[in-house]
Amino acid sequence: MLDQLVASLTDGILLGFVYGVAAMGLTLIWGVMEVINLAHGPVIALGMFGTYLLFTHLGLNPYLALIPVAGMGLLLGLVIYVIAVQRVINAPPLSSLLSTFAVNMIIIGVCTAIFSTSPQNINYSLGSLSVAFLNINYSRLIGALGAILVTAGLYSFLYFTRPGKAIRAVANNRAAAELMGIPSGQMLALTFGLGTMLAAVAGGLIATFFPFTILSGSPYELKSFVICVLGGLGNPLGALLGGLILGFLEGLIPAFLPVSWVPVLEFGLFVLVLLVRPTGLLGEPSK
């Protein structure tokens, strides 16, 4: 029983790192722009397809493929921002919600027409590491390592660079930031670009573990909402922590209950955190 629990927790926590990266994109956009990006799931799936296409057609190592995928994610985010978000950013929240939902439907529709909804798979196995009774896939270990690097990079960007500090300033008080000469429009565009970049990178990492379709981003989008609420909005470390908690639960619950109970308890936790600590674990308590 203990063996099973440890194996299950290890798998869950390693996956939790990648959940964290997926949620970072959502939490950044939500926290800075107060936009709930419903195109987050399809962008994760686009990251999967980007990695897949670079691997199958150009023979690029899937982990190296994450670099161009990140670049394309950033560019896509800027395009989505200019076309669908910029004009509704000051409108009531429902407008941006509907606008990003429309982008979600467009991406799914176009990609279904191009790729169909047949499952795709990156046929690239690194094998597994055996330690005593544990068998850990190297791909999950690399995924976790990648997630740590991405978190460190994003944290450094936000806290130690001028554009990062500007983004935080815009998140804190957009009017005051503008008075200080910060071009808030550019910062918002950059934030949206970074958010989609993170989603695409998370998708690329997930594609190295599991088969996928253009609809595969949806479960990660839902998990990202739970993680954002758990970790607190706009905080990359909070997102990583939230991802790890979710991964821990996904490892813990199946050891005692049927796997079908996992979403029930995950979303139960979502409601509970909203009720008890709506600003999340690392968010400042509401005054």
Binding site: N137, F209, F210, A255, V262
Partner: protein, 428 residues
């Protein structure tokens, strides 16, 4: 001069007669030929996209091969000499149950399909069968093994596949032959209709044979991460069985391999007999799967004679050769299923001597034959009308050939086996 006039008159009269008497002959012949040609429309949906597309496209290919062969031969020849040509009309159901009923209604009402073939999978077929029965169209089902569809009182739905309740029970027999140690089995299955039917019957059978089912857990068909299930497999189980359809079962097989699960046997549904399963490489070796038909399985005219059954259709070798020539790949049992669905309809139309639904239904009810696909006979009682009661499964195992590449071998039943089954891990 008078003689000349008489001669001219005779020639004129004969010429006139030849025109009037001879000319209607080709017209009559043409009219007769026209009366002897008929065209039927066979309607169905196929999962050209979505999670069922691998199996469904093979099924579609099999059906198209049959249709092409029939039409090239001039059509289905009825006893009265009428030639029945076959046309098809199909739509992509996107592997979605909710699309199926709408599309089958369209096939019947707008496209005026005379006969129906089922979509691929039990879930989709169950949805389509209601429409077929409701609108009074015969439906030959293929790729639809679930028993329950045929126990709903339908009278026009006929099953080609061996029912789900017999799908994996032979794996227990193989395990007994290999020598069970702990007598424990773990069953991980897709919680769709077909897979659930299969594993329920499997569990009952295994328990009746003295095995203990120590894990019995279903997963959502869209699952891609099987580690929560694999981590729960108790140590020392004799076998891991279950799965669902191609996409999820292939992922399950890959992850069982990556997780280095220690067990003596892995027996999974649907995916292993597919030639594409070999793309898993080392992860496919030793996996056992049940198959409705295999190219290696020898159902021949001699076997039919031995069992006192009439033979119908091409030989297995001829089917494989024609399929490979047309699609440049080996047929799977899904391909054979698609072909046989057409073949059974053809035989029933010939026996009925007509394309009339009531007459064809009567012929199907009385059908008891052997084809390259095996024995075919339908239940006709009110409680399970249309259920397949003649056909039996064969079991394959992926083994290595001399070059170390994956090769599929028939390992059960022993009489038709091309190799002996072995326990996991694969011998080197």
């Amino acid at each position: 001069m008078k003689r000349l006039l008489v001669l001219c008159s005779v020639v004129t009269v004969l010429g006139f007669l030849s025109v009037t008497v001879m000319s209607p002959a080709p017209a009559l012949a043409a009219a007769k030929a026209k009366a002897k040609t008929e065209t039927i429309l066979v309607g169905f949906t196929a999962s050209q996209t979505g999670k069922l597309n691998v199996e469904s496209v093979r099924q579609l290919n099999g059906f198209h091969l049959w249709m092409d062969q029939v039409n090239k031969a001039g059509g289905i020849k009825l006893p009265d000499g009428t030639l029945v040509k076959v046309k098809d009309k199909y739509y992509d159901d996107e592997s979605k149950k909710e699309r199926v009923q709408e599309l089958y209604t369209k096939l019947i009402n707008e496209d005026k399909a005379n006969f129906l073939i089922s979509p691929y999978s039990s879930g989709l077929t169950d949805a389509a069968a209601v429409i077929a029965q409701q609108y009074g169209r015969i439906m030959i089902t293929t790729g639809a093994a679930s028993d329950s569809t045929y126990k709903k009182g339908y009278t026009l739905v006929y099953q080609t596949y061996t029912p789900a309740s017999k799908y994996l029970t032979g794996a227990v027999d193989i395990l007994m032959k290999l020598g069970a140690k702990s007598k424990k089995i773990a069953i991980i299955y897709s919680n769709d209709k077909f897979s659930t039917d299969v594993v329920k019957a499997l569990k009952t059978y295994a328990e009746a044979k003295g095995f203990k089912v120590v894990m019995f857990e279903g997963y959502d068909p869209s699952t891609t991460d099987f580690s929560p299930f694999i981590n729960k497999i108790p140590q020392g189980v004799d076998a891991v069985m279950g799965g669902g359809h191609f996409a999820d079962t292939t992922t399950l097989a890959r992850q069982l391999y990556e997780k280095k699960v220690k067990t003596r046997m892995i027996a999974l549904l649907v995916a292993p007999p597919e030639p594409k399963f070999a793309e898993l490489g080392p992860a496919c070796i030793s996996v056992i799967g049940s198959s409705q038909w295999e190219p290696l399985a020898h159902f021949t005219q001699a076997a039919a004679k031995k069992e006192g059954l009439p033979w119908f259709g091409p030989s297995g070798d001829a089917f494989v050769k024609a399929y490979k020539a047309k699609y440049n790949e080996m047929p799977s049992y899904h391909s054979a299923g698609g072909y046989v669905a057409g073949l059974l309809l053809q035989e029933a139309i010939i026996k009925a001597g007509s394309t009339d639904t009531a007459k064809v239904k009567k012929a199907l009810d009385g059908m008891n034959l052997m084809a390259f696909y095996g024995h075919v006979k339908f239940a006709t009682s009110a409680k399970d009308h249309g259920l397949q009661i003649g056909h039996e499964m064969v079991y394959i195992q992926w083994q290595k050939n001399k070059q170390g590449k994956p090769v599929k071998q028939v390992v059960w039943p022993a009489a038709g086996a091309t190799a002996s089954p072995f326990v996991c891990p694969a011998p080197h």
